[in-house]
């Protein structure tokens, strides 16, 4: 099934040339379009999605419901009434072009429809025709198009070539957030029964088992035990993290990818080691075993449904507050939607207070949920961690700001503070590619599917180029990030555009550097690879002293 990928040179040569004709006069070529596989009929049916049906994006006929035009019209009408943002964003664009070259998918494909402005015009043109007077009277002269089946294909094609990273919105003088328009288009498509398997399968898993991967409780326990075995091998310390236990101060929720997939598991080991060393009063949960939220790639209601178990579990376990792991879209949902979706927080919850430093995190006083980078940065600031950064001294690391924590939460300094504390060599990538202007990994918002690998590598091209630059000029050989999707997607992007650079989560590096009480001298890192500068044996240390 796996097709051979073109070389980077071939990929860049295959970039679309600058457009010569007006976009309304040049229909897209769907034959070469990077479609994800469609969601299966029974998946959609089990989730209670409208009009579940079998269809294939490569086919001519997508088997839309009889009254599909009416569904779209009413769906758009309903959403226009609901969202002020939608009304404003559909009306206000002046096509100044400031966003055009800011999208990583445009930079990687050269497809004009991947310019954020044009991606938005795909919906805007239909809105004009059916909801504005000028569009009705002037038609194409006002940039309006009558809804047809090809437009539905176009929407599906380009709404799933947007990773909702919001970089374009940063450059829009009017503050238009194309990600929100993408989200609305995906919702509309969903009403016709059109969705991708890569998103809907995890959503179904999450609804049935509490996490995207579909891990059942005993499997979660086993996986965590395996990780604890590894920690014991490396450090000589046995950790047995509490699971589903009531009455602990903190409920810890990570993206489920972190207990399952390489290299996320090493980050999870880092979390566990940190908590153990601090003597933190916490519990994990097999029910709320997913911080991430693939529902947010589909609709507000689905996102709300998957998010609800976080507060519910904190209530059931009588936890004081929730600590959240390193994840991207998870934090977009928690930061922007959770409180509105499922708040207010259960009565037993309190504003997050670090039990180690006493810091009160007032900025999260309503959701009572804290990001682990904020928590650890606070520890670093107060000097509460005993660290041996020399264990990471073979790494010259840079930091990839994950779109959602950076742009939606403004989590820019905290991870850097932690990184500087645990790594002796830290190098920034060029201005304009980091912090709030960071480039997407190219696989966010449910695009992490294997079948569109070429598109993902194209989307990762800007990030890859920036990485390649610091690899060549500053000998960077490692990139840290704080997003589970990044950990899944960036190794491939790095292998392709900057071979030789490894990728890890922030807390993997924390785990490596953490000097734990009673540990044996470490000879390997968390991946059980030999440390170039292993810990000196205790006798030697004594001799040195």
């Amino acid at each position: 099934m796996k097709t051979k990928l073109p070389t980077p040179e071939e990929l860049l040569a295959g970039m679309q040339p600058a457009p010569t004709r007006h976009w309304l006069d040049s229909p897209p070529d769907f034959a070469k379009a990077p479609f994800c596989h469609s969601a299966r009929k029974d998946t959609m049916a089990q989730l209670g999605m409208p009009h579940p049906h079998d269809w294939n994006p490569a086919d001519e006929d997508w088997k839309l419901p009889e009254n599909w035009e009416e569904i779209i019209y009413n769906g758009l009408k309903k959403r226009l009434a609901r969202h002020r943002s939608l009304r404003v964003f559909l009306e206000s664009c002046v096509r100044c072009g400031a966003c055009a070259d800011k999208c990583h998918f445009y930079l990687g494909t050269g497809d004009p429809r991947n310019m954020p402005v044009l991606r938005a015009e795909l919906l805007r043109s239909v809105y004009r025709r059916h909801f504005t007077l000028a569009g009705r009277l002037l038609g194409k002269a006002a940039g309006a198009r009558t809804l047809n089946k090809n437009i539905i294909r176009e929407w599906f094609c380009y709404a799933y070539q947007c990773s909702e990273c919001r970089r374009c919105s940063l450059f829009c003088p009017l503050g238009i957030d194309t990600a929100e328009l993408t989200a609305i288009v995906r919702e509309l498509l969903c009403e016709l029964g059109l969705a991708t398997g890569w998103i809907m399968e995890p959503v179904l898993n999450c609804e049935r088992t509490g996490n995207h991967i579909g891990l059942k409780p005993h499997t979660i326990k086993e996986l965590i035990d395996f990780l604890c075995d590894d920690i014991e091998t490396i450090t000589g310390i046995r950790i047995s993290p509490p699971i589903n236990e009531k009455g602990h101060e903190i409920l810890f929720i990570a993206p489920s990818g972190d207990i399952f997939a390489d290299p996320g598991i090493y980050t999870f080991m880092g979390y566990l080691m940190l908590f153990h060393e601090l003597g933190l009063d916490y519990t994990l949960s097999t029910y709320a075993s997913e911080g991430g939220n693939f529902g947010s790639f589909i609709s507000f209601e689905t996102a709300q449904k998957l998010n609800a178990k976080l507060f519910a579990e904190a209530g059931r376990l009588n936890a004081g507050w929730i600590l959240g792991g390193e994840c991207g879209h998870m934090w977009r949902v928690i930061n922007q939607y959770m409180d509105t979706f499922n708040g207010p927080a259960p009565k037993n919850m309190r504003t997050s207070v670090s039990p180690v430093t006493g810091t009160v995190f007032r900025h999260a006083s309503s959701t009572k949920m804290l990001h682990i980078a904020e928590f650890t940065a606070d520890l670093v600031r107060h000097g509460k961690l005993s660290l041996r950064p020399e264990r990471n001294s073979h790494l010259i690391t840079t930091f990839h700001d994950s779109c959602n924590p950076a742009r939606s939460m403004g989590l820019l300094e905290e991870p850097r503070e932690v990184l500087r504390a645990v790594c002796p060599h830290f190098v920034e990538m060029p201005e304009g590619t980091i912090r709030e202007q960071t480039f997407c990994c190219g696989s966010g918002a449910g695009l992490n599917a294997e079948e569109i690998m070429e598109l993902r590598l194209r989307g990762g091209y800007p990030r890859g180029s920036a990485l390649r630059h610091v690899q060549l000029t500053r000998q960077v050989n490692h990139m840290a990030c704080i997003c589970a999707l990044d950990r899944a997607a960036l190794p491939a992007v790095a292998d392709y555009w900057a071979p030789g650079v490894t990728v890890s989560g922030l807390h993997e590096l924390v785990g490596n550097a953490l000097a734990m009480k009673g540990e044996i001298p470490r000879t390997t890192d968390l991946r059980q690879e030999e440390l170039p500068c292993p810990d000196t044996a205790p006798e030697e240390e004594r001799n040195h002293a």
Partner: protein, 210 residues
């Protein structure tokens, strides 16, 4: 930015045609505007700024393939109107030395709905007036109302403190989701097998094996 500054200055300068007496600040602005162009009658920094920036905006829209492929007639129309306005305006000031006093008399006549017969106002003036009227006529329907969008854009006028302060959503219904009780029922055996605490005592159907 240059364009917006040029437009604002030019707009302010036009106020002298409608205000009597001309406010001090306006006169000061006028003299500053012309400070660098003493030798050339009529010419001011704002005029040059406006004309040049309009030219750049049009050339940019035409020469850049990306922009050309997405531009609509509605993007060119205001540009062309403004260029016409700037052109006739400059022509009046620099070439025919339009008579400001006459123009002011004529306009105030129009404003008071008692038009005076024009005297000595050339075709440039009337073209200018017609274009200005057209511009104001399409203003509410065109993209020129875009400045107001900034005021309404949620990305511009809402603070990002959603973890600190809860906002309620009138159309959002409480979520229907997999509750813990249902989860425990579904995975009772697996939970027990893994030695994880159970909320309710084991039910008969699960076999009673811990």
């Amino acid at each position: 930015m240059l364009f917006h500054a040029g437009l604002a200055l030019t707009f302010l300068k036009h106020l002298r045609l409608f205000l009597d007496p001309v406010p001090r600040a306006l006169a000061l602005l006028e003299s500053m505007d012309r400070a660098f162009f003493q030798g050339v009658p009529g010419l001011g920094a704002s005029s040059l700024l406006l004309a040049a920036s309009l030219f750049i905006l049009l050339v940019r829209r035409l020469a850049n393939a990306r922009l050309r492929c997405l531009s609509l007639p509605g993007d060119y129309l205001p540009l062309l109107l403004l260029m016409g306005l700037a052109g006739t305006g400059l022509a009046m000031r620099c070439l025919s030395m339009g008579d400001c006093t006459q123009a002011k008399l004529f306009l105030s006549g129009l404003l008071h709905l008692a038009p005076l017969p024009e005297s000595g106002l050339g075709p440039a003036f009337f073209t200018h007036l017609a274009l200005a009227s057209a511009l104001f006529a399409i203003l509410p329907f065109s993209k020129l109302v875009h400045p107001f969008a900034i005021l309404f854009s949620p990305t511009r006028n809402l603070p990002c403190n959603t973890r600190e302060r809860r906002r309620s959503n009138p159309w959002m219904q409480p979520a229907k989701f997999l509750t813990y009780a249902a989860y425990e029922d579904r995975f009772r055996t697996e939970l027990a097998q893994a030695g994880l605490p159970l909320e309710t005592p084991e039910q008969k159907k699960s076999g009673g094996q811990a």
